[in-house]
Symmetry: C2
Subunit: 320 residues, 2 copies
């Protein structure tokens, strides 16, 4: 199967059609009408085989995941996801693989009302880059720079499951099958917190998605807001799967310093704390307060059961 046949079979005419897309796949560019009084939010994320995922990842999961990690960035700004472009580099054409991969992609796109508007399909080592675009009422975006002294620090859900899935496999840990299965499912099919992000608009003072690890991503907020924070490691939500690890060090490291779960981390003023909790709960998202922003020269202090706990090496960076 050649390039254009591939595009026609797996992309053209599949997935949803948005009314604001004036021209979709099939010309030199797609054409979009961005609603008035809205800003365009744009983000790009790449997944590389052997770096971001094992070569045997189920193709449906990979198709889901590449969109999910991009939609998560839109969620962290409070944006409404709308359109994605896909740079898909494949070593060869495996039709079964492609069918499942694109099904995973179309399913999550449809769920979030996102249209695939174009891209490029090339031959080479398996690499996928998505550029996702969303809309947001002018001036309402959540940024990393708005956290203030006294704000409370929250996360939208349990952390460390993706790290557990990866490290258990890499290091051959003895984890109960049901725990390994649920953690792997979490890695394979992350849920970007799109609704939560939109609820946070106008209430939260800052937000970021946890892609590199809780402490690494929090440190971006602290630096860009010019503040510090105290985090209670024992308040960070974790799953039964993660709780099944009996080594505190390992468990905390996965929860605090591993990324890939795509929950949101956000801050809210004391005045808006109750409003935020009520609103999020209406959307089925449990607000979990894990600490507070303080003026302490930008330091990040970690406590575990109210005792100082050493900061783990925080967060993944390429080329480290």
């Amino acid at each position: 199967m050649k390039e254009f046949e591939l595009i026609n079979r797996y992309f053209t005419g599949r997935g949803i059609t948005r009314r604001d897309v004036d021209l979709g796949i099939g010309d030199d560019c797609a054409l979009i009408s961005v609603p008035e009084n809205c800003q365009l939010a744009v983000t790009t994320d790449t997944l590389v085989e052997g770096v971001h995922f094992f070569a045997d990842i189920p193709p449906r999961a990979l198709g889901h995941r590449i969109l999910a990690v991009n939609l998560s960035d839109l969620a962290a700004m409070g944006a409404e996801p709308a359109w994605v472009s896909i740079g898909l580099t494949l070593s060869d054409v495996d039709q079964q693989w492609l069918e499942e991969f694109t099904e995973g992609m179309h399913d999550i796109a449809e769920y979030y009302n996102v249209q695939i508007i174009g891209g490029d399909t090339t031959q080479g080592p398996l690499t996928i880059t998505v550029c996702a675009k969303g809309i947001i009422p002018k001036g309402k975006a959540l940024t990393r720079s708005g956290a203030k002294n006294g704000d409370w620090v929250y996360v939208t859900g349990p952390l460390g499951d993706s790290g557990l899935a990866i490290e258990a496999r890499k290091q051959g840990w003895d984890v109960a099958p049901e725990h390994l299965k649920s953690a792997t499912e979490r890695f394979n099919f992350p849920s970007p917190r799109v609704a939560a992000g939109q609820v946070l608009r106008g209430i939260a003072t800052s937000a970021i998605d946890i892609s590199d690890g809780l402490l690494a991503d929090l440190s971006h907020i602290l630096r860009q807001s010019g503040v510090g924070a105290v985090i209670h490691a024992d308040k960070v939500p974790t799953s039964d799967a993660l709780n099944s690890l009996d080594n505190d060090d390992v468990r905390l490291k996965l929860a605090l310093a591993y990324g890939d779960d795509y929950e949101l981390l956000y801050t809210v003023s004391d005045d808006n704390k109750n409003l935020l909790e009520t609103k999020l709960q209406q959307y089925g998202v449990e607000p979990v307060c894990i600490g507070q922003i303080i003026n302490n020269d930008g330091k990040l202090e970690l406590l575990y059961h109210n005792q100082t706990w050493p900061l783990p090496d925080i967060g993944f960076e390429h080329f480290s």
Copy 2:
């Protein structure tokens, strides 16, 4: 050098700043204000080492080229380039290489008033995906589907040089050094026809950029417009470098069926022919008429000095 240091050194705060970019590199998303009464044009192109370029391509050329091929798609719609996002996958961090690569990228971005608004930097086999975004007055885009019976077929400049550069190297052809040099320069630093594309708005009936080869790209227009065409191969403009090849077959194949030069192919009605020629010449672009659109059941007829000439295998497709 780690990922964030790399981004800070080579991207953040470098290049131009557009007033319509409300938030650039450094948050979960960039934020853009698209002007009222404009559509957003979006395109994505990927370059893979060993597939789209030799590993020893000068890094400055690669930085130029990845933006140029994307801006060329915007040009083909008549859009004004504005913002780009970059997915950059690098096997390792070579600071000299990165300095030159990003200089090439920033130079062409500045020339076309384009801001780099974000991206993702990851480790893996050298692959670059750019998503370029431009703006266009509502309803004024040039598409592939507007060519009509009797329209004239034009190109914006000489074709076949990039093919000459690549094939001469691959096949060890005996080409004079000055010709090889000028052809290679053309491959390394293609000039997207951004001004010409905007001039064509409201005058041309269809347009496409020649990335896969003249005949392949023309066939997209023919299929999407439901028409056929007669092309005079001897009228297709070629450079002194290409003309130095004395084999007609080879020369014509490079001019007609090789891509990578990034000229525009467009059609214009007989009524607008003179207006178009005058306007383009004002912008220093020589309009070259190479044939005509006809109603012949969608066929593409090729003549060489008014004799029927066999169609070469047309155009590059991945996975062929």
